[in-house]
């Protein structure tokens, strides 16, 4: 998600006690406008570093699964030995894998071949939100 950086900060004179916020800086300003204009990012999750390396060839592209998804976080939690592959634009997984391999100089795939060692999931969707078309807020 692109950010526009901090907007101006209007600081109040020192010594005055206000009930209004001292400043209202935003980091996602106009995100609702920009959300549809940029490709979304995806990452694959793996049961082990070895599985991740099989897909992406380069060990430096495989990171222990933690909280470092987006934004800035001061929190890190490791989940049971799982690993994430690199981020790539949604729908561009194969080209991202080819690019990663070409960067390694010696791991070219045969044309059109793609590997997938990401954790197998059995996912169903639509269990929330399907029946309501009006605002959920109030």
């Amino acid at each position: 998600m692109p950010t526009t950086g901090l907007l101006k900060q209007t600081l109040q004179p020192a010594g005055l006690s206000y009930r209004k916020s001292r400043a209202v800086p935003l980091v996602l300003a106009a995100s609702t406008l920009l959300a549809g204009c940029s490709p979304r990012q995806a990452r694959d999750e793996y049961a082990s570093q070895e599985d991740c390396k099989k897909d992406w060839s380069r060990p430096e592209l495989c990171q222990p699964a933690s909280s470092s998804g987006s934004g800035s976080s001061t929190h890190t939690t490791y989940y049971g030995g799982r690993y994430y592959g690199p981020s790539y634009d949604e729908g561009e997984r194969e080209s991202a894998q080819r690019s990663a391999r070409s960067g390694g100089n010696s791991f070219g795939l045969a044309g059109g071949e793609s590997s997938n060692h990401a954790i197998g999931r059995s996912v169903s969707r639509g269990g929330f939100g399907g029946a309501h078309i009006s605002s959920a807020g109030g």
Binding site: R19, P25, T32, T77, V123
Partner: protein
């Protein structure tokens, strides 16, 4: 409390769009800076004190409802009763809520309801009217410390509640107002230090193999802020998966008690005659005089019926199947300048356990709806 006529700023639409407040003119006229409400500092004190007291009473009411096993009166599905109780006993993290008050600036503000689960109007209250104030009355004050209080409250989620990992934010996809509120809340969480991700609630998946909720990229969801009401969550296809508590939900399950109109008669039982409460009952025959019939679950004024002055005012909608409560009628103050007459209600925000500001809505009718205009405010000593 005075309603003043003002000249709108020349560039307000562009300013708000640059701030992400893109739905400022939804239904033609939503944000309305042709007017503003001026308060005195003493009046703001009165609203703040009432809000603080109402919140403390509401927390006592939650304890009472759980201890006395009254969740059935709230139409909460029975499989979720234990979850509500566990959530309350564990003091699960709550971010915010909003009381809706009827008040004309004199006497005691009267509580109409508590939007404790999915309150919106946050961008308007926290951001839009703050920027308006800087431009129009830069030397005046405003009851609006929402932004810094929200960031501080998110920080307590990390420090006091040991919340770690990615914080997902979900709402109904494609609903501009909900997505705007959600994006703003996500912004405050980022500023508090969280890594975040936003998605449509309909894209949440359930991984049966790992017994986990996952996002639209199949990554596990550990912490979810949902701008989506509990009463819908616990009646939908994935509801049963919530019972094993595979993720932290914000707002927490105990908010099901407060975001329900059944809390109104319970409050009146516990604090009869309290100046900030209106008489309210589960049974229509107990109420006398003008009254309002409210569904247990309702938002944006839907299915509310006012019986006042020999007249009936009804707002249609999709709610009411779970039952109703009956609350004494307290007319919102009416302001009429001959151009845009308005009934006014005050939304008073709670962040954590602290009052954090107000937002004012106007409507041509007595029932505040999603189309009701938002009007800024300021106060002077």
């Amino acid at each position: 409390m005075i309603r003043e006529s003002l000249t709108p700023r020349a560039n307000w639409q562009e300013q708000f769009e640059s701030l992400g407040f893109t739905y400022h003119s939804i239904d033609d006229l939503y944000w309305d800076e042709r007017y503003a409400y001026r308060f005195t500092a003493a009046q703001i004190d009165a609203v703040e004190d009432a809000t603080s007291e109402l919140h403390q009473m509401a927390l006592q009411a939650v304890e009472h409802v759980i201890a006395k096993e009254r969740l059935g009166q709230f139409a909460i599905p029975e499989p979720f009763w234990a979850l509500v109780e566990e959530s309350w006993r564990e003091k699960e993290f709550s971010l915010y809520g909003r009381f809706d008050l009827s008040w004309n600036g004199q006497g005691a503000p009267k509580m109409l309801e508590y939007n404790a689960d999915t309150p919106t109007g946050l961008v308007e209250s926290s951001v839009a009217q703050w920027y308006w104030l800087q431009d129009v009355f830069p030397q005046a004050d405003q009851f609006n410390s929402l932004h810094e209080k929200l960031i501080a409250q998110w920080q307590t989620l990390a420090s006091r509640h040991q919340c770690k990992g990615l914080l997902h934010f979900a709402c109904i996809g494609g609903h501009e107002e909900d997505e705007g509120n959600l994006a703003y809340l996500r912004d405050t969480a980022i500023q508090a230090g969280f890594a975040t991700k936003q998605l449509a609630i309909e894209n949440i998946g359930w991984d049966d193999k790992h017994a986990e909720f996952v996002d639209d990229f199949d990554s596990r969801i550990d912490n979810l802020f949902k701008l989506y009401p509990w009463e819908w969550l616990c009646r939908e296809a994935f509801a049963e998966h919530l019972l094993a508590r595979p993720l932290r939900l914000i707002e927490p399950a105990w908010k099901m008690v407060l975001s329900n109109k059944a809390i109104l008669p319970v409050l009146w039982e516990l604090f009869p005659g309290h100046p900030n409460l209106l008489p309210a009952f589960f049974d229509a025959w107990r109420i006398s005089g003008d009254f309002v019939k409210k569904p247990l679950y309702s938002r944006e004024g839907e299915n509310i019926t006012i019986y006042a002055g020999g007249e009936v005012h009804h707002q249609p909608g999709q709610y009411g199947a779970e039952g109703y409560i009956y609350q004494a009628f307290a007319a919102q103050p009416k302001f009429d300048d001959g151009i845009t007459p308005a009934y006014t209600s005050i939304g008073s925000w709670i962040v954590g356990d602290a009052p954090a500001g107000i937002g004012i809505r106007e409507d041509v009718s007595l029932i505040t709806k999603d189309t009701s205009r938002f009007v800024p405010h300021y106060f002077v000593d």
